[in-house]
Symmetry: C2
Subunit: 255 residues, 2 copies
DNA sequence: CGGTAGGTTGACAATGGTCAAGCTCGGTGG
DNA sequence: CCACCGAGCTTGACCATTGTCAACCTACCG
C-alpha cells in the first residue's frame, strides 16, 4: 500500500492527547489555558469567554478506558460530559437485541444530553479509545451562561440528526460512506488535525451499523473507493486522495 | 418582536378543535383555561403551571393554511412555534434536489428548535392541514422558566431522533410502517383522541419519504396489513384492528 | 362530469444482505 | 524467535428485499 507508515504511538499516559491523525497534526491553533488539546477546549466552547477559565478549572475530569462505557441507557441522568480527549460511540438498542450506533463523538462534543428530558440516559456511550471527559453535574444546568451555550449545542445536535436521517433515508450505500468520510475529515480538521489522513477508531461493523449497512458492504466500498483512487485504505488508516471525487460520490447517481 | 398586546392576537375563542379522529374523540381530559384543545396546551407544557395562563394570554397566534410553510430552511431564526392545533411536516433537502420528510408534528409540539444553534432554520416546515401556532419570539429564550422547559423538549427531541435513526438503520419495511402507525396512535391517544382510528394527514409519498421507503412499498404494506387483519385502511382513514399483531410486526423476522 | 392528484398493483431489476471461505495483523505463549 | 490464535477484514456467490417503471383505478374538486 502506498501509505507512509505512521509511527504507531500508543499512549496510555495522560499528558499529551493521543494522536488522532497518525502524526500529521497541525498545532497552529491556539490553546485554551486549561485544556491541552489544540483549538478545541470543550469547556471553552461551553461557557462564555470571560468564565471559560474558571469553569475549566472547576471541572472534574474523568478517564474512560477503551471499551469502557461512560454511561448506559436507563441509568439515571446525573451529568453531562464534555469530551476533552478521545473518541466515543453511542448506541441504542431495540427490545429484541438489535442495536445500532447512532453517533461517534470526538473532543469538544457534549455527551449525555439525551438524559435531560427523561431523567435517564437513553443510549449507551462507550469509549473507542482511552479518553477523558469533563463532568458537568446536572446542577450546573441552572447556570444561565452554560444554559445559553447548551441550547446551541443541543440545537446543532438536532441539525446533525437531520443529516443522519437524510443519510439513512435517502442515500445509497456509496453516498453514505463518502458522506461519512467527508464528515470525519471535516471534524478532524476543525480540531487542527489533517483533513486527509486519519485513523479510524471504529470497526467496519460499527461503521456499518452507523450507516445502516452490513460490514461487508462497508468493506467492499472501501475497496472500491480505493480502486477508484478516491482513498487509500490500509486497515484503519485512511488517506483521502481525491476529496472532490468523494464529494461527487455524495451526489445521487454517482453511487 | 414585541408580544405585549398585539392587535392581531387571536384570542382563545370558542371554536372547537378540528376533528382529528373522524368523530371518535374522547373529550374527557381537562383543558387548559387558555387553550381549547383537549389536554394539550403547548403554552401550558412550556411554562411552569403558575405562569401558564399569563404566557398563554401573551402568546401571539398565527394561522397557517394547508400547504403553506411556517418557515423555510435558510430563513433567519426569529421564533419558535408551539403548535396549538393542526398538523405539520418538516423536510430537509440535499443539494441535488432530493428531499426527505424528517418529522411530522402535532398539537403541543414545538417547531423551529433547529434554528437556535445556527441562527437560521435548517428544515422547511409546512402545514398538512389548516393549523394554528403560538409564536415564541427568540427574545423569550432568555426567560429562565421557558428555558428549563425547553431543555426537556429539546432533549426529548434528541431521543425521538434516536428512534428514527434506529428505524431507518435497523428495521425492515414492515417494521418501519408498523412502528410508524403505533407511534401515531400513541400520540393521538395522548391528545385525547382515539388510539385506534384516525385520519392520516399525509400522502403515501410523504410517509414513504419519512420511512425511507418508496410510496409503492408503503401502499403495498398497507394492503398487506389490511389483508392480515391488522388494520382497516380506506384511503387516509386508518383503523387499527389488531394492535398486538402490529406490535409483533415491530419485532424483527415478523417483517 | 371531466380533470387531476393520489393510490394500487404487477412485472422486473438492482441494490445490498447473508453465508461462507480465506486472509492479515497483532498479541501470546512455548 | 517463532508458531499459533483470534478478532477484524476482504472477497465471492447467491438471494431477498425493495425500488423502478408502467398501467390502471378512485376520489375529490371545480
Amino acid at each position: 500500500m502506498a501509505f507512509a507508515a505512521p509511527s504507531r504511538i500508543r499512549r496510555h499516559t495522560t499528558d499529551p492527547p493521543p494522536d488522532v491523525a497518525s502524526g500529521i497534526i497541525s498545532r497552529s491553533m491556539k490553546r485554551c489555558a486549561a485544556c491541552d488539546h489544540p483549538g478545541f477546549c470543550p469547556t471553552g466552547k461551553l461557557v462564555a469567554p470571560e468564565t471559560a477559565l474558571a469553569s475549566a478549572l472547576a471541572c472534574t475530569l474523568k478517564r474512560v478506558r477503551r471499551t469502557e462505557s461512560l454511561y448506559r441507557a436507563g441509568a439515571s441522568f446525573d451529568s453531562l460530559y464534555a469530551i476533552r480527549s478521545g473518541f466515543f460511540k453511542s448506541t441504542v438498542a431495540l427490545e429484541d437485541g438489535r442495536d445500532q450506533v447512532i453517533a461517534f463523538h470526538m473532543a469538544g462534543e457534549v455527551l449525555g444530553m439525551d438524559g435531560i428530558g427523561t431523567d435517564s440516559y437513553t443510549a449507551d456511550t462507550t469509549a473507542l479509545e482511552d479518553s477523558e471527559v469533563c463532568i458537568i453535574p446536572r446542577a450546573r444546568l441552572n447556570d444561565p451562561v452554560l444554559q445559553r451555550e447548551l441550547f446551541k449545542v443541543m440545537s446543532r445536535e438536532l441539525v446533525r440528526d437531520q443529516g443522519v436521517m437524510l443519510l439513512l433515508g435517502s442515500m445509497g450505500s456509496a453516498e453514505r460512506l463518502a458522506t461519512f468520510l467527508l464528515n470525519l475529515s471535516q471534524r478532524f480538521v476543525a480540531r487542527g488535525y489533517s483533513s486527509q489522513e486519519f485513523h479510524l477508531r471504529m470497526t467496519r461493523e460499527e461503521i456499518g451499523s452507523y450507516l445502516g449497512l452490513s460490514l461487508e458492504t462497508v468493506s467492499r466500498l472501501f475497496s472500491r473507493f480505493h480502486g477508484e483512487g478516491l482513498v487509500c485504505v490500509a486497515q484503519k488508516h485512511i488517506r483521502i486522495q481525491d476529496i472532490d471525487g468523494l464529494r461527487a460520490v455524495t451526489t445521487a447517481a454517482n453511487g
